[in-house]
Symmetry: C3
Subunit: 434 residues, 3 copies
């Protein structure tokens, strides 16, 4: 599963960041043209991406698809006719899913519909009101406290009408039906770590995997958060038993270290792989136990669904101050961090492909490695000690019950080295895949 | 299981201490009128308490009920006829179960029957000789070393005759036969932490539980230590499988922190409940592994009995210097400590009653909490974060295999909060008891 | 299993060291007269030792017995005819298994066949080339760098011819066929910790056990490392299921603390026993997880063999600088260390013999210990607290499912004390062996 010929991932972080720059201005929400326009851009990279539309009012488990929300413009003008809040400056200024309104209000009445963040007085907070009809504006706390007494003209040119919920899905069929889910959400307006880092990295990952013949099947989901995952699970509820592993991709562009939030079971296959690869490749990372709050792992790990799906992030949602504010912007996420996240997701894919069970063909005592050129004949190690130790561990543990991943974990050796040595041993007819 | 109407536990520590003050002067032993008089006082609080009498000589497993011991008076007089040791000053002065004697002795002969405690020279030690016929006096070490050479008159007006062993038992029948044992001992003379704290607190606990309709049945045992527990187990040996949990109550009045000594299994139901409640309610406590020495848990956890019974104490026996001395008196135990012990036992009872298994009625994905008023519609938490987290954990884990206690342990949230939220979710028809 | 009458192990370390001194000069290898001469000396202590000869060329699993190697003399002379390297000074000077040679060479050509150790410039390294035909000399680094340009005469008077591989085996039959393996290797030339400490200590251990009637059978193996263990396993492959425990004895004479390398399973019987005895008897020791490199545990724990065999050493191979050099000599190993290693092996043997399952004959509550003189009747402990605690633990845990070893581990009491108390309880008919 190494790189294809003439291929390299150099500069991929910069490419992902450029793609993100294109998606950044779109005003996304859980329904509406923002999602559609974003998926159209993703489809340019993934021509086989299927775009699904689920009509408003459809019942999905305990929920109902809400009316579709779209917005053209919004502002607050003072009595001089000057726009003091302007949707065109930042789509975060509008309470997401605001009902249409056009009226005049005095400051005290207006303030009931204004949201700010006292702790970070320069940042615009991101607020939503999907299921409770309301309207409002978000603005920096400094701007809020400097608004003078006045009569203001308020206008939100939005619509909330029967339409549909939109999501994107791409299945890359492998040799087997065993499926891996990579899920992300596409419903936040102009914010980068949460959430454009997820869809952009998964777009590039899907593009890479689609070039390869794979053992497993890979399904990529680009959904509105919560309601989108619920919708997809509701539609596909009879097909979930094919899913052997999965990850929710989010918060992958900030400069922090990796965080892995375990699946509900806590010891599922994806947990073992991801934690081992973090150990192999990172000097510092965090493991979080499963908790039933966060992103779409809440749905994937609900008691009636209970899929083996974790979430690999950089800094976890809630834990960076820029979370859900205008400061989560194109400067906050870096090409370098996006690249390291892409590479870790790619390595997880590689490991899913490469991890197999082998049987030692000479299980009684050690085979004679020297006569096969696999052991130095006078003292000292041939390559590194790790090479010889890796050979010894694979031979010792390959009884058909331990996968290469199990051997890498037990021996505390790098999975990539174990895989490389297994290939050598297989070539030497000392082990065979089962 | 909250408090009954118009009811409060304010001042209950003071009431328990007053009750203890009444029991304090009685000269108890493993048989005789001291036990009977103590049980009579307990029966004033618990009219349904049954008083059992088991004849001397009865065989109970490997043991035989000993002759009944009673004592009227005891003293040591010097040659001037002055009482230098007087039973009326402290019933600890007499080696418990001393045979009757009336004789004259020189100091060196007398000294073979005197017991003192060099380390704490002002305290009278508590000594017994139940199964080896002997007589003796206990006195402070300072008194012992100041006894002049003299001829002393020794008198112990005791009797050791065929009679019976006495114990008290109260069964509070609940909806089910599943039984919880609260066991304590009533055989120590004037000492408070070990042991009057146990019987006084259990008396008040039984009184409270007797006012309520309960799911489980509760059996309270007031026994002489060791031989009493052996006797009760011998008589009831065919009825032990109803017992689902239990605690030995002792050393509950000193000012130290709680100590929980686990049942033999170490992971039984009572262990899980008690440790969780200590975590919820105490900032500092000790967990002791089961050891086959201590109090009546020795019998309850013997290999042929093996009941799920632990012991919840403040400072463990042996571990406070006043243990088995005259310094374990009414000043050493405090109303405040007795009250906190009573409350912890009460909470254990509450949790035993409240802990149930629920099933999430919308197990596929999350139910929509917002439309039921259980989720804030614009950002931030409705009550506290803990409230929302509690709701999420209950929904996520209620697959019928996790009790509320399991959920509280896994989520690291307070059991009381989990119970309160489960009630709310049940009222909203989101979960149902199974 | 205490010492036999009139017997003591005083001075046994000195005796073992003297035996080692006799074995030290022999030039051993994996085949040849060095092994035969060493086994002859061992047989003087163990008359029933069987000496096996397996012909060169025999197939043993994936290996073939190599030609037999013998050596009479070897030297390097300078142009003045002075011996600058002389096999008679140290048999380490010859690359073990060197092919015969007699030629003249200039220094630069000679150097391709010289091996030294830069890090310890005064020590001669030990090097082998068993399966790759080669010749060479080992010398101190100081000597190497001081060799002047010259023409040297090189002579190795060795032979590499069809013959056999030799190993020694002693079976001490016990009451049952259940077998314990003590395995060591006898293939290193003049080095003491690795490896003469192993064969000398096992010789003394076998001698002691042979004097006794035992419950288990004990098999002692004195083999050439790797190829010898492979040969023995190949010959005995159908008889391995009798083996219940075993140890590889090596590196037992250096002044360091004990190291125990676990069997592959990691929780096998020998692991439990050895770790418990180290805890009972040592203030400081190391536990190493199983790794598939090291000594003959590699073969015993290969996936098709998988025997419960660990390795008890002092300082582990590789971890002392003298390892595989001339500095691993008779001064490096001490009688004191050999004695403590012998005693630990002896205690392991004793525990294997003494560990039994008992049943408490009074499982319902405690038996009355006082009437049997097993409990002090007035307060305080009779002997030590440990004695009483040991009695209590045995009675509490003897339900037929816990061995004395299990009880010693659980109670954190010394196995010897537990065994002593079990004997007392058995004598008192309170427990019986099952």
């Amino acid at each position: 599963m190494a790189l294809l010929e003439n291929e390299s991932f150099d500069g991929i972080g910069k490419q992902i960041h450029e793609f993100m720059t294109n998606l950044y201005p779109i005003c996304r929400s859980i329904t509406g043209n923002g999602v559609r326009d974003s998926l159209k851009q993703i489809k340019q990279y993934l021509p086989n991406l299927e775009i699904h539309e689920v009509p408003s009012g459809s019942e999905v488990f305990d929920w109902k698809i809400p009316n579709e929300w779209n917005i053209k413009d919004a502002f607050v003008k003072n009595s001089l006719g000057e726009k003091v809040i302007d949707f065109n400056n930042s789509n975060l200024h509008v309470l997401n899913y605001s009902t249409p309104i056009h009226t005049k209000l005095h400051l005290d009445e207006l303030k009931k519909h204004l949201f700010s963040l006292e702790k970070y007085p320069d940042w615009i907070p991101y607020k939503t009101s999907y299921y409770d009809q309301n309207w409002g504006f978000c603005l920096s706390h400094n701007q809020l406290i400097n608004l003078p007494e006045d009569e203001y003209e308020v206008s939100i040119d939005s619509s909330l009408e029967s339409g549909s919920l939109t999501y994107g899905e791409l299945l890359l069929k492998g040799e087997t039906d065993d499926e891996v889910i990579f899920s992300t959400y596409v419903c936040h307006p102009s914010m980068c770590n949460d959430n454009l880092s997820g869809p952009t990295i998964l777009t590039y990952l899907a593009k890479e995997i689609s070039k390869r013949k794979t053992k497993l099947s890979y399904r990529f989901l680009f959904l509105p958060e919560t309601i989108g995952a619920i919708t997809w699970l509701s539609i596909n509820k009879n097909n979930l038993n094919k899913i052997k592993a999965g990850l929710v991709a989010t918060c992958l562009g900030d400069p922090g270290n990796f965080t892995y939030k375990k699946s509900k079971l806590g010891i599922s296959y994806i947990d073992k792989i991801t934690i081992k690869l973090l150990e192999d490749n990172s000097s510092d990372f965090k493991i979080e136990e499963f908790k039933p709050f966060g992103s779409d792992e809440r749905q994937y790990c609900s008691p009636g669904i209970n899929l083996p799906i974790g979430s690999l992030m950089k800094t976890m949602y809630y834990k960076f101050p820029e979370y859900h504010t205008s400061a989560d912007n194109l400067e906050f996420v870096t090409p370098k961090s996006l690249e390291s996240s892409f590479l870790m997701y790619y390595k997880i894919y590689e490991t899913l492909e490469d991890n197999d069970y082998y049987e030692n063909l000479n299980p009684m005592c050690e085979p004679q490695l020297g006569k096969r050129g696999l052991r130095n004949n006078i003292g000292g190690p041939k390559e590194t000690n790790n090479f010889q130790e890796s050979i010894d561990w694979i031979l010792n543990m390959s009884d058909g019950k331990n996968s290469l991943l199990d051997i890498a974990i037990k021996s505390n050796l790098n999975f990539e080295l174990i895989k490389k040595c297994a290939d050598i041993l297989e070539k030497n007819q000392l082990i065979k895949k089962i």
